[in-house]
Amino acid sequence: MKVDKQEIQIPNAVREIYPFESRWMDVQGYRMHYLDEGERSGAPTVVLLHGNPTWSFLYREVIPLIRSCRAVAPDYLGMGLSDKPADERFYTLENHTRVITEFIERLGIRNIILVVQDWGGPIGLGYAQAHPGNVAGILIMNTWAWPDPSDFHDAVAPWRMLHAPFAGANFFLRQNVLVERGLYLATFRSRHRLKGGPVLEGYRLPFPSVESRIAMLAFPRNIPRRDGDLNWERMRQMEKGLSRLTLPCSLLWGEKDIVFPPSNAHRFQKLIPDCSAPRMIHDGAHFIQEDAPEEIAEEILKLCARTGQRSN
């Protein structure tokens, strides 16, 4: 399979706000990029999972605030600085979950605290349901775990048109609109930073070419709408499995998210037995890591305390 292996140099302006050591792991024959920061000896390990169209850069302001923990932030294959196979069919929810499972196993990390948002939700919850003994707690933010994600996903304009055949290839691959405009539209408190400058430059960095953007287009095409669609049964089983998740769970939600609205947070709270009431960020939207990094760090440290894992 053809792979986009373009070596990406991080420019100084981006490096200043993403001052972390890049690490690499071979997974499924591809090179995967990740961060592994913070305390190692005896500290809880926090795994930070991103969504679309983001990468570990999304957590750059959270990681320094949880230095007392070990913070691991991978870039999925096709995203960030990881290799980007050229075949759209490679990028299924099942395969992303398989890759993250192999990544966690190869890293040998135990009793992890999972932090998930957007596609991090179905990927991370898929991992948690298959490996409940290795997950000590989970922080869920602006995501979903059932076949019907929200009303937004049923509408032709803008959502379904955005990734329809040919229109989607133009919007995602040729025009890169999810980075150029989607991030801006899906933030609130920090929206001004997504108009230009080093933050937007950081999000643009991994996706310089049409060939580098294929995973971004595949993500929305993995969201099922009706019985029989790819991932419908997987998401149905995932929803059923939430009631069997006995690990401590926290919910933090950007209230102004129209993609995954606050009703999703309440649905998680009803479905997961040991789940605290959602903490709403009134001036936060979908990319809550941009809008509320301090609040995320607070919730991670609280979750560590709740799970009995002591951060130094």
Partner: protein, 130 residues
């Protein structure tokens, strides 16, 4: 601005070189798109040919890869030399083609929905958002 469907002779007259400007790997993600495009290609000897508002000519045809077989359906601009074509012209021509396509596919797909989406995401060719 509308596209104009053209004959093979007209496309050949526009240039002997082809450059891939858009590849759709999943034309059947919503099956009605693939059904329409394949039907149009079938009645036109395997490829759909059109001229965009810029005057550039394009072919829409299956893209095959020796190792993987069918890779998808590609849109190629026809040109007379190897030199690159102004990408802003291609952007506007592709927008017009996609407007035509969604209009032809019909049903729940419409030019208005495409324009609304394009306006929200500020895509080249789309109208300005109100």
């Amino acid at each position: 601005m509308d596209i104009e469907l053209i004959s093979l002779e007209e496309a050949e007259a526009a240039g002997k070189f082809e450059e891939l400007v858009l590849l759709e790997q999943s034309p059947g993600f919503y099956p009605e798109f693939e059904v329409f495009i394949r039907k149009e290609m079938d009645v036109r000897a395997g490829q759909l040919l059109f001229r965009g508002p810029s005057g550039l000519a394009y072919s829409v045809s299956p893209v095959k890869d020796n190792s993987r077989g069918l890779q998808g359906i590609g849109i190629n601009v026809r040109k007379n030399s190897d030199s690159p074509v102004d990408p802003t012209k291609i952007d506007l021509d592709l927008w017009s083609f996609i407007e035509w396509l969604v209009d032809q596919v019909g049903g729940e797909w419409s030019k208005e929905a495409l324009r609304k989406t394009g306006a929200i995401y500020k895509a080249p060719g789309a109208p300005e958002r109100d």
